[in-house]
């Protein structure tokens, strides 16, 4: 019985994360300004890291946690680089 609860909650969490990524993709397509799109991409990446964590639990694959770390690091660097060039480019 507890295993069934775990299976059910894994499916429910995957569905919630999937709907979340879809909603944020809508904002990514619609977003009126460039910074809107940047933060939408950032949130999509964060939710994708969460989805990878759910998949790691579902498949019993602990090695996938490395992927979560790498996704988080690359996202942070990407967002900061985007902000840097956005601010620098506005001055001239």
């Amino acid at each position: 019985m507890p295993d069934q609860i775990l299976q059910w909650s894994l499916v429910a969490t995957s569905v919630m994360l999937g709907i979340g990524i879809l909603l944020v993709t809508l904002r990514l397509l619609r977003g009126p300004n460039l910074p809107d799109r940047v933060i939408a991409l950032d949130l999509i990446g964060t939710l994708a890291a969460g989805a990878i964590g759910v998949y790691a639990v579902a498949q019993e694959e602990p090695i996938l946690m490395f992927v979560c770390i790498m996704v988080a690091v690359v996202l942070f660097v990407g967002t900061v680089a985007f902000a840097y060039y956005l601010e620098k480019g506005s001055g001239s």
């Binding site: 507890p2 295993d3 609860i5 775990l6 059910w8 909650s9 894994l10 429910a12 969490t13 995957s14 919630m16 994360l17 709907i19 979340g20 990524i21 909603l23 944020v24 809508l26 904002r27 300004n33 460039l34 910074p35 809107d36 940047v38 933060i39 939408a40 950032d42 949130l43 964060t46 939710l47 890291a49 969460g50 964590g53 759910v54 790691a56 639990v57 602990p62 946690m65 490395f66 979560c68 770390i69 988080a72 690091v73 996202l75 942070f76 967002t79 900061v80 985007f82 902000a83 840097y84 956005l86 601010e87 506005s90």
Partner: protein, 131 residues
């Protein structure tokens, strides 16, 4: 018992992520959207990682999961601050109903301090020995 705890944390994390996504879609301007995205996204993924750490019950995997949590809690506020600052200086419009904009007041005060009149006032106020 472990499965129940994992399920609860998973569901809580998923609910936070979904709420963050809804906030991202529904909030009126960039800065409020940034609030929704950063806080709920970090907390939601943090709960999912905590669930993974509890589920695997292995020291290496749990350390990796907690590493993800620590990194998210460190990096998300920095990224949000940097992108909000850049967005403010490229004149992204604020929401019509915004009531307080303290950065604008501070910038105006700094501009006002640079005018010749302000410089003369400062000289007048200086002690006699400095004039």
């Amino acid at each position: 018992m472990i499965q129940i705890a994992t399920s609860l944390m998973m569901l809580l994390g998923g609910a936070f992520c979904l709420l963050g996504a809804v906030g991202m879609l529904r909030m009126p301007d960039l800065f409020t959207r940034l609030q929704a995205a950063t806080k709920t996204g970090t907390l939601g993924v943090g709960f999912v990682m905590l669930a993974a750490a509890v589920h695997f019950q292995d020291l290496g995997v749990s350390v990796r999961a907690i590493l993800v949590i620590i990194f998210l809690f460190l990096s998300a506020p920095i990224a949000a601050h940097v992108i909000a600052r850049a967005a403010y200086f490229v004149n992204v419009p604020l929401w019509d109903a915004t009531v307080v904009d303290e950065l604008d007041d501070a910038l105006k005060a700094r501009e006002a301090a640079k005018t010749p009149q302000a410089l003369e006032d400062t000289i007048d106020r200086a002690p006699d020995g400095l004039r």
